[in-house]
């Protein structure tokens, strides 16, 4: 074996998890693309996929931080349902303007997170118990608030939160010839342009990182891997945005979600506060003796989770155009599963935003694909359970192999 191929092999085995996750997602997408006879990748379904999974992904961002900090939040599904119910009651029953309702709901979400985080952080109540209590409380609270009834529909100004699309900024004269060329009714050039710009930014950041690493003599990702990975990721990105542009363009939710993903990835990887969360989860006592205010950090992880759960609640309610007492039931488990499929460790201290997002998409594509194929909800649950188990086993196996 040449030195180079040995290096590649060593690199691959050390980063098996990262690549494995990405390839798993691609494989699952390819599989369902075939068995659904192309339905999976139709523009309308891709749009749907994003809409369906946005609230899971948004909550997974907060959940990742909570789990990295060494805790868990079982209440997010209920909180999401409760905030949706509150928004419905405020807007539909009391005619409170949307512009007032949304901030109130987000702040309340934060307060709910604070109430739970307070016990976990400062009283050292195990988060499993504190948030289990929260789950029951807010389940009940939603029922009470809605008096057991569904409340809706919402005004258009609220619905756009979830079902709206970003309108094209390019003139018709420019876009209609393209639409004709690709055989679509219309073409949203903005969506494709955003995809192209995002691709360029990703490449630029990647290259810059590599150049810096090289300047410091750090042996990073082998270039074959770097380019291979980027070609696949960017190819997928361009493909998806192209598909979206042949439908109605970028959904508002996708934009919100995309911005949040970037912000949270940045916070966790590149900021002092993110670093401290990993230290807290990795070894709380050592973090504390390094001058990190671990209690406060834990507290804010839950506050943040509450705000994101509230946002997810608003998006969910807007999408269904109604608030139901059962909204969000069991959703916390999907969120937690996404984070663990994404490679986070139960004991805290490890896991990445990108992993959690990919994990959520793996679950989402499977849900969507299986529904299209017509697999019953019974089998769907079982299959999803096994996928979660397989992902975690894969993790443990990899760790053991590395010793």
């Amino acid at each position: 074996m040449t030195r180079e191929s040995k290096g590649l092999k060593a690199y691959l085995s050390a980063h098996m998890r990262d690549y494995g996750l990405l390839f798993a997602l691609i494989a699952i997408m390819a599989f369902f693309q075939i068995v659904t006879e192309g339905t999976l990748m139709r523009p309308v379904n891709i749009t749907n996929l994003f809409l369906q999974n946005s609230y899971i992904i948004i909550m997974a961002l907060g959940m990742l931080i909570v789990i990295v900090a060494g805790h868990i939040d079982l209440s997010v599904g209920s909180v999401m349902g409760f905030i949706g119910a509150l928004a419905a009651v405020m807007i539909v029953n009391y005619n409170i303007p949307v512009a007032v309702t949304i901030p109130v709901c987000l702040v309340l979400g934060g307060l709910i997170g604070a109430a739970q985080g307070y016990w976990v952080a400062f009283w050292r109540i195990p988060s499993f118990i504190a948030t289990l209590a929260g789950m029951l409380v807010f389940r009940g609270a939603s029922l009470w608030l809605l008096e057991g009834q569904s409340v809706g529909p919402f005004p258009q100004s609220f619905q756009v939160l979830s079902t709206g699309f970003v309108s094209d900024i390019f003139p018709q004269t420019l876009t209609s010839p393209i639409a004709e060329a690709v055989g679509a009714r219309n073409f949203n050039l903005l969506a494709l342009s955003v995809g192209a710009v995002a691709s360029m930014v990703i490449i630029w950041l990647g290259l810059r990182g590599r150049a810096r690493a090289k300047a410091y003599g750090i042996e990073g990702e082998p270039s074959a891997f770097f380019w291979g990975r980027n070609v696949i990721v960017l190819g997928a990105l361009m493909f998806l945005t192209f598909k979206l542009s042949t439908f109605r363009g970028l959904p508002n939710v996708l934009v919100t979600m995309g911005i949040l993903i970037v912000i949270y990835a940045f916070i966790t990887q590149n900021t002092v506060i993110g670093r401290r969360v990993y230290a807290l989860g990795g070894n709380e006592k050592a973090a504390k003796l390094s001058g990190i205010k671990t209690e406060r950090l834990t507290f804010f992880a839950f506050v943040n989770m509450g705000v994101l759960a509230a946002l997810a609640g608003l998006i969910f309610a807007a999408r269904l155009n109604t608030a139901t007492p059962k909204a969000g039931f069991g959703m916390e488990l999907d969120v937690i599963a996404a984070v663990f499929i994404g490679g986070a460790s139960m004991s805290g201290g490890s896991g990445k935003i990108v992993g959690a997002v990919v994990g959520a998409f793996i679950m989402g594509v499977m849900n969507n694909g299986m529904s299209i194929v017509g697999i019953g909800i019974d089998y769907q649950q079982m299959i999803k359970g096994l996928v979660l188990l397989a992902a975690v086993i894969f993790d443990v196996y990899n760790k053991q192999k590395q010793g």
């Binding site: 002092v272 401290r276 990795g282 070894n283 504390k288 003796l289 390094s290 001058g291 205010k293 201290g349």
Partner: protein, 505 residues
């Protein structure tokens, strides 16, 4: 005496490393055989090969035990033949009773139903053998570490042990507990049990061992007959491969101005609130001075240090602290760090490091603002800082991206030191800075301490090893039961004088 165990040309390779290279070891029936070597020399690997943790076939070479070729596939196989290992970290379950612990996996039972009567009877017998008078139903958590170690040995005896292997059994023990344990080893020897003891402590080796084998870099470099007598320095030289006649590096001693002054320090226990753990302690450190705190384990040294360092231990803390003559706020860890204090913990694995993270991550953790602007980390600056301290401290590692969990004890300690040096402290409190690290790395840590004092920093050194304090310090405070019972210049100190202060007060 016949040969009980012979390991022939044992070679064990891990990907990229040869952990053992044609090691030969002969242990005679009924002797106590000491194995000495630096951390990472291969002692534990050799014992794992012997006990079947690394099954036959994963290593080269042969093991002959009791006159026959031994091919152990797992721990069970070797235990069936009477080989029992007692590891450094105790394997007792703290919540269970002594009796339950003794017979775990080896229960006195019939048809799956516990025979408690028999269990307790046998436990009493075994406890008597190891010199314990505790009731068999005592919860293990309630007895001290020293006694727990004896319970471990009783557990080995419950398995009809023929060859007992003790991996650094006294690492966590105080002097008198260690002595008890060593005496027990001699007693077992008299009863015909063969022992292998892995130890760093040469005075203990001298006390119990019949034969000493020194392992260095995966090779057995020498075997000495201990009864014929040996010089400790000989073994040390064999262990590190260089002359170690100066175990403590020379330092020019210059005590400057007063740096840290602590006055009337009182601390109560965080849970047992009526218990006062630190009583009215006053001390000071000057620039360029190394001040030692001697005392037995449990005398409150760590509690004193941690309560000063941002009140990270204890309750109702009172007392004054001054830095360079003016009052200083040490009420939280980050304030203490900003004031110029650093505390290097005695327990680096659970209090000092994030083991799953890299050297880089750990080095910058206590001063992230030093590698960030407006809350955004500069990865390159971090790498540079980590690299700087790696070089300055001589941390042996392929790169600063290595997980600290993969490093040896000495290198981990250097990472902890680097982390605290990066905070730019005026005063460093070093709590057992050389615990569990090998002789060569100890010397390097001592050199670092000397360098710090040469830079005008004040060093407070807490240690259970009195020779270390005598060799390193300018001044020594003696602590007992939460109070300082004496203070003396190191030049006038001796182990006897310190010990007598502790015993008589």
């Amino acid at each position: 005496m016949s040969i009980l165990l012979e390991m022939k040309d044992i070679t064990k390779e891990f990907p990229g490393v040869k952990a053992l290279d044609q090691v030969n070891l002969k242990v005679r029936e009924g002797e106590i055989h000491a194995i000495c070597g630096e951390n990472g020399a291969g002692k534990s690997t050799l014992m794992k090969v012997l006990s079947g943790v690394y099954p036959v076939g994963t290593y080269d070479g042969e093991i002959h035990y009791g006159g026959a070729l031994a091919q152990f596939r797992n721990l069970r196989d070797s235990e069936d033949q009477g080989i029992v290992i007692i590891h450094q970290e105790l394997a007792l379950i703290p919540e269970l009773s002594i009796a339950e612990n003794l017979f775990i996996g080896n229960e006195r039972q019939s048809g799956g139903v516990m025979n408690w009567h028999e269990t307790f009877r046998r436990t009493e017998e075994l406890l008597r053998k190891v010199g314990l008078t505790e009731a068999p139903g005592t919860i293990v958590d309630r007895i001290g570490v020293g006694k727990q170690q004896l319970v471990e040995i009783a557990k080995a005896l419950a398995k009809d042990v023929r060859l007992l292997i003790l991996d650094e059994p006294t690492a966590a023990l105080q002097e008198n507990d260690s002595r008890k344990l060593l005496d027990l080893m001699l007693e077992l020897k008299a009863q015909g049990v063969t022992c292998i003891i892995i130890s760093h402590k040469l005075n203990e080796v001298r006390y119990v061992a019949d034969t000493v084998t020194v392992i260095r870099d995966g090779m057995a470099v020498s075997t000495l007959d201990a009864k014929a007598g040996f010089e400790e320095d000989d073994i040390v030289r064999d262990m590190v491969g260089r002359d170690m006649s100066h175990r403590y590096p020379e330092r020019t001693r210059l005590a400057g101005d007063l740096l840290l002054e602590v006055e009337g320090w009182n601390v109560w226990h965080p849970e047992h609130t009526e218990r006062q753990v630190i009583r009215d302690i006053s001390f000071n450190v000057r620039a360029g001075e190394v001040v030692g705190i001697a005392g037995l384990m449990g005398s409150g040294r760590t509690e004193l240090a941690m309560s000063i360092f941002g009140r990270s231990w204890g309750r109702n803390i009172s007392g004054k602290a001054r830095l360079k003559g003016s009052a200083v706020d040490l009420s939280s860890v980050d304030r203490a760090i900003k004031a110029g204090l650093a505390y290097v913990t005695e327990d680096r694995k659970s209090l000092g490091l994030v083991l799953d993270e890299s050297i880089k991550f750990n080095t910058t953790l206590a001063k992230l603002e030093g590698v960030s602007t407006r809350g955004v980390l500069d990865e390159n600056a971090e790498t540079e800082v980590a690299e700087r301290y790696r070089k300055a401290l001589g941390t042996r590692t392929p790169s600063v991206f290595q997980k600290v969990g993969n490093l040896s004890g000495g290198n981990q300690q250097k990472v902890v030191l680097g982390k605290w040096l990066f905070t730019g402290p005026e005063v460093l409190i070093l709590d057992e800075p050389t615990r569990g690290i090998d002789v060569g790395a100890k010397y390097e840590i001592y050199s670092i301490i000397n360098e710090l004092s040469a830079q005008g920093k004040g060093v407070v050194m807490i240690s259970s090893e009195m020779p270390e304090l005598l060799g390193m310090c300018d001044r020594i405070y003696v602590m007992n039961e939460g109070a300082f019972v004496g203070e003396m210049p190191a030049s006038e100190a001796s182990q006897e004088r310190i010990m007598s202060l502790i015993v008589t007060e």
